[in-house]
Symmetry: C2
Subunit: 584 residues, 2 copies
């Protein structure tokens, strides 16, 4: 156990000691260290704990810590420990001890700090003085069922944050505030990008005009990049007979995540959980020759997963995701070049978002100890893994080999990025698949006239628009680069007299394909500017008498306190260039 984790765990004990001093009747359940801190589940019986109580507990904890109290360990015979717990009325500890006894334990250890003794495996710090002043904070209250079972009693869980120093804690708190401000659910509502409806139901986001602008820009961008590498767009239905997925193996893989579709007329279908099998059917619709390959399909259609209803929320976990998906069908001698092209597409796309460079790559290979977890032949797997390693070497990807991370049908390269808050994002992937074309009996006629199975290469670039939108909202904190901004220029009228000119100016910008919104309401200019700032428009134009009577504009750029003067022509040229270049 690393040092910080030991401190966090010890803080759980110190908190428990403080609570027992304040509420001697309280009964402790369990109190582990967790990521960034610790918690303890406590039964306060009829007492309701609130925010003010947390501050009081914190104060008591600091008081104990300052006293330089030692953590002392004692071993006890388990039978005696159970008897003691019974006598004390420590109902939860007694239950834990009885379970340990059933598992065959005969001795258990206890740790004491101050006057509080707790059943615990340890280890702990030597003395409370090791906890630096201001390095911890009680964060929040929550309810938690005893043993996570909703049939049991609901206990009070107190969460604490803890780091080595006060400075580290402060940094983390700042990050947390920032993450809350960037929460895509909050910003999505504030910026009017998407909404939910009780009548439509949870897990089914509705995208408003501004959200669709971002999605369409991403879609156009990715399609343009992929077309350059020979991808052609297809469009497949959202339904299929289950037969399709029985052949592909997805019926078994997704089983209870499948949505079933029926009607009073006796229809029986499923909603597609993945795009790949549909795309194989387009390949299969014609006779193919070695000359036709590679054939590359892409599409942005929805796929469906029956997530647990309690787990859907925001855009990150929904019932239907609009996946930008693509597949290449090629000959074995074309696979390596194709893999390289796909890596270039990923590089192109993520560089435009400023994410390329802060990434690492995983070469996800099979779990060699458990070949039964995969489909396909060993020789094919060996070949694919070698090819992916070569691609990594030749392109300087420096991929880390990760055993057991391969897909069902083949090994893959996975790309991991970090967003602006340091959170890891795993989206793009390139996967080689020998199995699917064989399962669907896809063929091409080779030069020598024989029928062969093509290799199928799967690739994801941005994954699903829903999750990707959530991600870039949080990454950019809603302040999107110009090309992605739903409103690129906000025009604000000073008074009634300037309304017509605002309309005229908006028309000129729109004619140049610049997205404009006018605020010519009767609010004060100050209010209108504040509103525009909250909306995070990249550029703001305030139109008064001066602007109306000249070709010069007064532009306030996002994040700037002051305006700058620029001619209308130059402003339009500047914006068009930035949009064209997808400048950040």
């Amino acid at each position: 156990m690393e040092n910080l984790e030991i401190k966090r765990h010890s803080l759980a004990h110190i908190m428990a000691a403080a609570i027992k001093e304040l509420w001697p009747e309280a009964q402790l359940a369990i109190g582990p260290a967790i990521e960034n801190g610790f918690y303890y589940d406590i039964d306060f019986f009829d007492v309701k704990i609130n925010e003010a109580d947390l501050r009081q507990i914190e104060k008591k904890m600091s008081h104990l810590i300052k006293q330089n109290l030692p953590f002392t360990k004692e071993e006890k015979d388990i039978t005696k420990a159970i008897a003691a717990a019974k006598t004390e009325g420590s109902i939860y500890k007694q239950e834990i001890l009885e379970d340990l006894q059933k598992e065959g334990e005969t001795k258990v250890s206890f740790y004491t700090v101050s006057t509080f003794t707790d059943l615990c495996r340890g280890p702990h710090i030597k003395s409370t003085i090791e906890i630096k002043p201001g390095s911890f904070k009680l964060q929040k209250l929550a309810g938690a069922y005893w043993r996570g079972d909703e049939k049991n009693k609901m206990l009070t869980r107190i969460y604490g944050l803890a780091f080595e120093t006060k400075e580290e804690l402060d940094n983390y708190l700042t990050l947390l505030t920032e993450a809350e401000k960037r929460d895509h659910r909050k910003l999505g509502k504030e910026l009017d990008l998407f909404c939910f409806s009780d009548l439509v139901g949870p897990g089914l986001p509705l995208f408003t005009p501004k959200g669709v602008i971002i999605i369409d820009e991403l879609k156009n961008h990715i399609e343009t990049v992929c077309r350059r590498y020979g991808f052609e767009k297809v469009m497949t239905p959202h339904l299929a007979k289950i037969d399709l997925y029985e052949i592909s193996g997805h019926a078994k893989k997704f089983s209870d995540e499948l949505f079933h579709v029926t009607s009073d007329k006796g229809h029986q279908m499923v909603m597609k959980p993945v795009q790949c099998p549909h795309q194989t059917q387009i390949y299969a619709s014609r006779v193919r020759s070695y000359r036709d390959l590679p054939i590359r399909y892409m599409e942005s259609e929805k796929q469906y997963r029956a997530e647990k209803s309690g787990e859907v929320g925001g855009l990150s976990r929904v019932y239907a995701i609009t996946v930008e998906d693509g597949h290449t069908f090629c000959r074995i001698d074309q696979v390596k070049e194709e893999l390289k092209d796909l890596v270039l597409i990923i590089k192109d796309f993520y560089r435009a978002l400023g994410l390329w460079g802060q990434h690492w790559v995983s070469l996800s290979v099979r779990d060699y100890a458990h070949p039964e977890k995969y489909i396909g032949e060993t020789a094919d797997w060996d070949l694919c893994e070698t090819m992916l390693q070569e691609v990594s070497d030749e392109m300087g990807l420096n991929a880390k080999r990760q055993e057991g991370e391969a897909a069902l049908y083949g090994p893959k390269l996975d790309f991991m990025f970090r967003d602006s808050l340091g959170k890891e994002i795993q989206i793009p992937t390139v996967q080689v698949d020998f199995a699917t074309p064989k399962r669907f009996n896809l063929t091409y006629t080779d030069k020598d006239g024989t029928e062969k199975n093509p290799v199928m290469v799967h690739r994801a670039i941005l994954g699903s628009y829903e999750r990707f939108l959530a991600l870039i909202i949080e990454h950019f904190a809603g302040a999107f680069p110009l090309w992605l901004s739903p409103v690129q220029v906000k025009i604000i009228s000073v008074s009634e007299a300037h309304k017509d000119y605002c309309q005229k100016l908006a028309g000129e910008l729109k004619a140049e394909k610049i997205r404009v919104e006018i605020d010519d309401s009767n609010e004060t200019v100050g209010n209108k500017i504040r509103k525009a700032i909250a909306e995070k428009s990249p550029h703001m134009l305030v139109i008064g008498d001066k602007e109306m009577n000249s070709e010069m504009l007064s532009v306030r750029d996002r994040g700037q306190q002051e305006s700058r003067e620029i001619s209308k022509q130059d402003f339009i040229a500047e914006l068009k260039k930035k949009i064209e270049d997808k400048s950040l």
Copy 2:
């Protein structure tokens, strides 16, 4: 009964007479006049009738006709008629007679021509000489269950075509051949626009790259036109709780046409049968002011209908249609202007396809005798109908008032076009709806601070992409205008030596956003040209030594036998202009 219908019915009798002469054992069932001709269902027992037999029957019919045979009528007592049928062994006629008797008939009429007498209400022509030579033709054979019930015996149905003159019949046969050539299922396969898969299932088309190009061009075009009139794009899920449609009234309206979605985890949803209710929920997601209106949403998402599995086929009848749908939410004082704008959008769109001008408009109002068939208040209906009439008058639409053709929630303008074969197409519609906003309690705050319901205006322009694609495939016979053509220029290499130059030229055209396909296979130039003609490419470039060594191109335009010389620059400029203008 009109004259031609009488002739068609008489021809059914003449055919029966001919058949009885050729196969005296045959038993006749029923033989009515139908659109374009007639048929007779016949029990030939063990005899199998084929194409050659049809020609023989035709010959016999012509022979009878030439003899100037009269049709004579006779009335009989029904009991005697039944007895006679029994004696003759006319099993089917006997059954019909017995049913007539059950219905209370006491007398029935018989018509005789040549030696054949048939139970029939008439009327008939006076004599066979009224049938003009060459004005009829036996068209095809089909199976038909006696009384349409699959539990009964399968009879042989012989279809005949019949017109007033040979010329009219010939015209119809030409049209039929043309329609067969243009059949979108046939052309869709030949031109590789879409396909079906047994594993995916019927009624679920998969769109191949070329089909998607046409759909995307249409989508871009319609979105561009609609944006000009203030429409903004939204994106709504394909699923919803049934609650949404219980409020909108669609749950009841579609009932057994709804697809139900369930999962092993207990989910219960339906697939959306229409887009409108989802769009109301985006309107409802924020507080709206009178200043915000009109708000206009458009989207191109799928909607689902559980069609009878026996009825799906091609693109015209499918389970999921991708509907280009839009709704305007506005104040009552904005409705009329909005209606006019929507008519202008329809005009813009259909003019670009060369269909505007060959149309008529229906002002579809309610069935005044049955107000219970509609939702909403009488005063609202009166107001809407008046407004639509005014729009028709002011825009010179000359709409025909059609009672009983209104939608559930309001009156509408429907636009009817004729395709190049004269078939009527009813797609675009503009509908006023006071009821839906009230059902969903949609509101806006008016100038005076009161909460009011907006008016919802529904509009369809191209309807669904699936049906519209079927329609334009048939309208253009696959020879799409340049802007819609999946391949705009086909480049053909004369020999191996010209391959690289073809690639270079293709690159130059692609850089100008012109869609190009190269045929540099080893087939003969003649074969490659024939293939390109079959693919209906608007322009074909054959690249040999001469072209490689000059800036001049040899262009063969669709439908032309000869090539023309044009500089590369001029050719590119010509194409870009045509594409930009959406020239036909």
